[in-house]
Each structure stands twice: as structure tokens, then as C-alpha cells.
């Protein structure tokens, strides 16, 4: 058991740190989604040109071919430098890319992976449906094989950037006769194909990145199927496990930074009694506990990392990190609302930004599988409890 870093790792970290200081954008990410897309794409392109996109992706597909540890160091340094979040490239980099590396054909990999890394193609997710949320395997968007094409009809929802993406990781039902987990196929959908239409949905915090996507006999080549036809559920499970892998490193660091920011805020915020929040026994206890739990999450991340060094695909333990991360970030948001009191109500002020974050943060325990579903996964696949509802 050690926290030692090798000479190569230290040098890589220093190189990354210097590069980020030199190259990270000075301006903030634009709020308007189309400007934000241009911003995200430009940043990803810069990473690609410098060799920092896909640190642990194979060299032959445009990655840097380095280890999981170096990928982890990259995520850490990027977050510590406060460089831009992954934004619109999330699905391509954290979902589709790793899934293709594990389950895709050579043709799929050599076409898509370099384009994902350079942000030439933006990806979105097509998993959830109005009738298939937590019960994802009950999805009913149909895929009918017609010659060397699959004809897709149905509807998806919660598709971030669906109106701006070029490709979609799409789950469709190709065999309605089989049990629900057995008749699903994971296919690469072209969002510009005829019969595909994306409509934005406005969220409670004011954001508009979510879309509904409608498919009216849209045709995709069978060559776009990733893994086997009707084996899409296993491919999708792999996809979701990657989301709970090293990508969490960055959000964990950013959460740690938010806790420190909240502690600073508590130093500057006078309570109605005139006392500063930091001097209040209740807030001191809660803030100390936050800090301790951030250390716990950090350690969990490193334990998860230690496991990843011995296994190619993240296991169900990743759900523990996901559950803890969303719970902690929401408790942090609620604590910020308590500290600010009425100050959080006015969204035109700086303090009001905490209010906006509080609203937006409600999705933390819903997106990527609700906390309830994570608890089912932990109960059944980590603890071995019986399945049933």
C-alpha cells in the first residue's frame, strides 16, 4: 500500500501542469449553448493537437497510448487548473469512445475514435425513453432489419445536446419476442439521417441542453451495430460502467474545490445574528464533515483506481462512487443554501449563483442512473442480494 509516484508519472504531471497553465482558455465558457459548443470543440481540438485527448486510448486511433494512471493524472491536473469541463464531448469521450475500444470493429474504431478525440464529431446518448427510464431494458424504440439496414421508429429522451450532435449511441429493440434484456441492440445513429428530429427541453435551472429525439423510419447501416445484434444490453452495461470509471476523478476534484469555496463563503457571510457562519457551531460541524467526506471520496477514488489497474472494465463498485458523489454534491448545495439564507434567492448576485447551482444539482442523483438504481446495483451486484423489486 503506497501513494508513491514514479519518476515518469511525476514528469508527466509536471508537463501537463505546465501545458495547462500555458494553454487553458482565459475566458469563461459561454452560457449560450451554441457558443458553448464552439468553445468546447475548440478546447478539445487543442487537446487533440497537443496529444492530451484520450491519454489512455490506443495510439493507432489517435490516443496517447499511456496508462490508466496517466489518464487519472490528466483528469486531476485539468480539474486543479480549473480548465474547461468536458461539456459537449462527454458522451464521445466517456461513453462511446471506451465502448468502441472494447466492443467495436476495427472499421468503427478507426473511423470514429480520431473524430471523437478531435471533436470533429460530437456524440449524444439515446438510451432513456418516456416509457423506459430506470427500467431502461423495457425500451421500445423499434429496429427492424431490412437488407443491410436497420429501420428505426420511436422516441428517446434526456438526450443532452441531441440537437447539436452528429452521432448517437442508440439502444433499439431488434427482437420484441425475446426477454427484455435479450432483444436490444447498440447502434451508431447518424443524427442527420432522414427521419431523425431533436427538440430541446428546458430544465428547472434554466439550462436547455436536454432534447427529445424522434425517429420516423430512420435508416442506419447494419455495419453501425456495436457488438452483436441483440447483445446491446451487455454493451450498454459496459458503456455505463465507463462513466463511473476514472472520469469521476475530475468531478471529485471540482467538488473538493467547491467545498473550499463554501468554507470561504462561510467566512464572509454574516448570519442574521451578526455572527459569521464559520463561527457558528452547527456550520463548523457541517463544513468540517464536508471536508472529511471529500477526503473519503478522494480515497475511494484512489481505491477504485487501484482496482482499475488490475481489470480492464470498471466493476459494479463504481456505483458506490457515483452514489456517494451525487449525495455529497447535493448535501453541499443544500448547505450552501442554509449558509446564504435569503442571499441565495437573488440570482442576479454572485451569491445567487449558489442558488442556480442548487437547482441544477437536483439532476446529480437522476442522470446516469438514479441513486435508487445505483442502490439496486450495489445491493445485487456488490452485496449479492436477491433480485426483485
Amino acid at each position: 500500500m503506497d501513494l508513491d509516484v514514479s519518476k515518469e508519472e511525476r514528469e508527466f504531471r509536471e508537463k501537463v501542469r505546465d501545458w495547462l497553465q500555458e494553454n487553458k482558455p482565459r475566458e469563461a465558457r459561454p452560457r449560450h449553448s451554441r457558443d458553448a459548443v464552439a468553445f468546447d470543440k475548440a478546447w478539445q481540438r487543442k487537446l487533440f493537437d497537443a496529444g492530451y485527448a484520450g491519454v489512455n486510448w490506443p495510439k493507432e486511433f489517435g490516443g496517447a497510448g499511456l496508462s490508466t494512471i496517466e489518464q487519472f493524472i490528466w483528469h486531476e491536473e485539468a480539474a486543479l487548473a480549473d480548465s474547461p469541463e468536458i461539456g459537449i464531448n462527454f458522451v464521445g469521450i466517456n461513453h462511446a469512445g471506451p465502448t468502441l475500444i472494447m466492443c467495436g470493429t476495427d472499421e468503427q474504431c478507426s473511423f470514429h475514435l480520431p473524430r471523437i478525440l478531435s471533436a470533429e464529431s460530437i456524440w449524444c446518448q439515446g438510451f432513456s425513453e418516456p416509457g423506459a427510464g430506470s427500467d431502461l431494458a423495457s425500451l421500445s424504440t423499434r429496429g427492424v432489419i431490412d437488407g443491410d439496414e436497420i429501420v428505426v421508429t420511436g422516441q428517446k429522451i434526456w438526450t443532452s445536446y441531441g440537437n447539436l450532435a452528429k452521432y448517437q449511441e442508440l439502444l433499439i429493440r431488434t427482437d420484441p419476442e425475446s426477454p427484455k434484456h435479450a432483444g436490444i441492440t447498440w447502434i451508431i445513429a447518424d443524427m442527420e439521417a432522414k427521419g431523425v428530429e431533436a427538440r430541446p427541453i428546458r430544465q428547472m435551472g434554466g439550462g436547455e441542453e436536454f432534447c427529445e429525439v424522434f425517429y420516423d423510419e430512420a435508416r442506419f447501416p447494419i455495419a453501425n451495430v456495436v457488438g452483436q445484434i441483440n447483445d446491446g444490453w451487455n454493451v450498454a452495461r459496459a458503456t455505463l460502467s465507463f462513466e463511473r470509471g476514472t472520469a469521476f476523478t475530475a468531478s471529485q476534484i471540482r467538488l473538493a474545490q467547491r467545498v473550499e469555496a463554501l468554507i470561504d463563503l462561510a467566512r464572509d457571510t454574516a448570519l442574521p445574528s451578526g455572527k459569521f457562519a464559520i463561527n457558528d457551531d452547527y456550520f463548523a460541524y457541517e463544513l468540517g464533515r464536508m471536508r472529511a467526506e471529500i477526503r473519503a471520496m478522494r480515497a475511494m477514488t484512489l481505491v477504485n483506481m487501484s482496482r482499475l489497474l488490475h481489470q480492464p472494465q470498471p466493476g459494479p463498485e463504481g456505483s458506490m462512487l457515483k452514489l456517494y458523489n451525487s449525495d455529497l454534491s447535493q448535501r453541499l448545495s443544500r448547505l450552501s443554501m442554509e449558509i446564504l439564507g435569503a442571499g441565495a434567492l437573488d440570482r442576479s448576485t454572485q451569491a445567487g449563483e449558489w442558488g442556480g447551482a442548487f437547482l441544477g444539482n437536483h439532476s446529480a442523483s437522476i442522470g446516469g442512473g438514479t441513486s435508487e438504481i445505483q442502490r439496486n446495483i450495489i445491493g445485487e451486484r456488490v452485496l449479492g442480494l436477491p433480485r426483485s423489486r
Partner: protein, 338 residues
């Protein structure tokens, strides 16, 4: 970087677990006298011969030469198997004696010939060559020395120096509790650094993580076998989700304890924050999981026949050793940030 035990550590640990499973099985409904007899001097002599007391001391000091990380791995098991908290007194006491140059005392403790109780500070603790203040001494009866510890230092006092205490009845009825008000009891060995306190926090946190894990394990086992409404209750989300939360607490607590042990061992700048965080969080996790385990056991959970109550009691006791979760959460806020 590797935060999980390597193969040598796993081997070392497996042998220890085998021994504990045989010699210290956790059973519900066991008579206290039987428990105390099982955990008496012969048990102590046994574990001393296995090298557990001197595990983390250097060979020059008569120890085995492993580090705080291996000690933490062992103490997690000590927590899980409800080994007497006197193990903290022995392991830390031997270190105090060795650091103070009292080789003979250290030898006696490492050999399992001398038993060391451990004090909880109540008020006005002053620990140096003379020890003053109010204390609850855990496992003091029949002990040879008592370990006292504060921010300023740590001391071993011969039990004969303490005078008469007032015997209490510990909430954790497997251990003895005696109240003492001391004014200048002479130390047989003392050191003036916070090193012992820091190590005490880590090792107690490791025991608490073990209690949290044991509570999870007995609850999961029960939920797999107890049938109501025609199915194992672990299939119901109300139970399953509670158990999943217990699993997350264990994962967080154990990971943090490992990280903190390495940070303290290697003298990393984060050591103070990690040690406080680990002690506080592992205490929280153990107390939550232990009481949660009672709930999963339903009516049987509140009987002495089952094991959950043992962990409820042990969690509360260990939380009070080397500073409780409340004081350490507040300390975490004051510690230098990462």
C-alpha cells in the same frame, strides 16, 4: 500508487484472520464471563507470540518492522472480531516505552506479559511526566499499565500508581470501565509529541471501519436468509437500499483509513486532515451501520441472542477513544487543506 493490500500484506492478513476466526469468533448470546475468559491473558500471550503487538515497531525496538499501514489492516480485523481495546493500549504503549528508552517495559508489553489499559480524557487532561485530570480507564482492571494520551504527549502509568478509582459499568459490557481523578500520577514512560495520538486515531479508526464492515456483513447475511411475505427480505428495496448505503459507508471509511494510514506513515502534508477525517468519519460509519444492522434484524436485532448489539456498543466506545467524531469534524475544518 496502490491503496489496496499487496500480496505480502494479504498473506499476512489471511493468517491473522484465520486465527481470529478460530480464537475470537463473534457470537451472540455468549456469557460475558466466557468472553472475558477467552480474551484473557492466554489470548494475549498467543497474539504476542504471533508478533501482533510489536508488528509496527522497528526490529531495533523489539518489533517486527512493519508500518502503520499493516497495523491499520490488522486493526480493521481487530475491530471486526471485537478484540479488546486493550490492544490499542498494548501497541501504542509499547511504542511509548520504546521511544522513551524504557526497553524493559516495551519488551514486557510486546511479549504479552504486561497488559495495558487505555484512558479516555474527560476533563483537564495533562499528560507528561506527571499525569493529571479526569479519565475513564477502559480495561484497567487487572492491567499492569494504563496509556494516557493528549495533543501534547503520551504516558504509561503503572496501574499501582493510580490509587483507587470508581468502578463504572461500560455501555459496551464486554469491557471494564473505571473512573479516575488524577493529580500528578508519575509516568513510568512518557513522550512529548502528538505522534502517539495520531497513530491512536488511525488505529481506532481502522477498528471502527472493521465494526462498520462487520455490521454490514451480518445484516446482509441475515437479509439473504430471513423470509417474510414469501421471499428473502434482502430483495425488498427498503432493506436493499439500506444495506447499499451501509456498503457505501464501509467503502468510504475503509478507503479513507488506508489513505490516512499511509499519509501519517509517510509524513505527508495532508496527514493532519486525513487523520481527523478518518477518525470522525469511521466513527460515524460504524455507529450508523451498527444501528442500521439492528433495524435489518427486526425484533431479533434488539435481543442479546444476535450479534448486532455488540457492534452498536463497540462503535460507541471506540468513537470516544482518541477524540470523538464531533471534535474531529471540527478539527478537520481547522486543519490545513489538501
Amino acid at each position: 500508487m496502490n491503496l489496496l493490500p499487496d500480496s505480502e500484506q494479504t498473506q499476512l492478513l489471511d493468517a491473522a484472520i484465520d486465527f481470529l476466526r478460530k480464537e475470537a469468533p463473534v457470537r451472540g448470546g455468549e456469557a460475558l464471563a466466557a468472553v472475558r475468559a477467552r480474551m484473557g491473558r492466554p489470548f494475549w500471550k498467543n497474539i504476542a507470540e504471533l508478533g501482533w503487538i510489536g508488528l509496527g515497531l522497528s526490529e531495533d525496538d523489539g518489533g517486527v518492522g512493519y508500518t502503520l499501514a499493516e497495523e491499520a489492516l490488522f486493526f480493521r480485523e481487530f475491530g471486526r472480531y471485537l478484540v479488546s481495546p486493550a490492544i490499542l493500549g498494548a501497541v501504542l504503549g509499547a511504542r511509548v516505552a520504546a521511544q522513551a528508552g524504557k526497553a524493559e517495559i516495551a519488551e514486557g508489553i510486546i511479549a504479552g506479559d504486561k497488559i495495558v489499559g487505555v484512558a479516555i480524557n474527560l476533563r483537564d487532561a495533562r499528560v507528561d511526566e506527571k499525569v493529571s485530570g479526569s479519565y475513564q480507564v477502559i480495561e484497567g482492571e487487572g492491567a499492569d499499565f494504563i496509556l494516557f494520551c493528549s495533543e501534547d504527549g503520551a504516558a504509561l502509568v503503572a496501574a499501582s500508581q493510580l490509587g483507587a478509582g470508581r468502578d463504572g459499568v461500560c455501555l459496551d459490557d464486554r469491557v471494564g470501565l473505571t473512573n479516575f481523578a488524577l493529580s500528578g500520577a508519575a509516568a513510568a514512560a512518557c513522550v512529548t509529541s502528538s505522534d502517539i495520538l495520531r497513530r491512536g486515531m488511525i488505529l481506532t479508526a481502522a477498528m471502527l471501519a472493521g465494526v462498520a464492515e462487520a455490521s454490514r456483513d451480518v445484516a446482509v447475511e441475515y437479509a439473504k436468509t430471513r423470509v417474510q411475505f414469501g421471499q428473502a427480505i434482502g430483495g425488498f428495496q427498503a432493506i436493499k437500499h439500506r444495506l447499499s448505503d451501509m456498503a457505501v459507508r464501509c467503502e468510504a471509511a475503509t478507503s479513507l483509513v488506508f489513505h490516512a494510514a499511509i499519509a501519517v506513515r509517510d509524513g505527508l502534508p495532508i496527514a493532519a486532515l486525513d487523520a481527523a477525517s478518518a477518525k470522525a468519519f469511521a466513527g460515524d460509519a460504524a455507529m450508523e451501520n451498527a444501528s442500521g444492522s439492528v433495524q435489518v434484524h427486526g425484533g431479533m436485532g434488539v435481543t442479546e441472542q444476535m450479534t448486532p448489539h455488540l457492534y452498536v456498543k463497540r462503535a460507541r466506545l471506540l468513537d470516544q477513544l482518541f477524540g470523538d467524531h464531533r471534535s474531529h469534524y471540527v478539527a478537520a475544518l481547522a486543519a490545513p487543506a489538501a
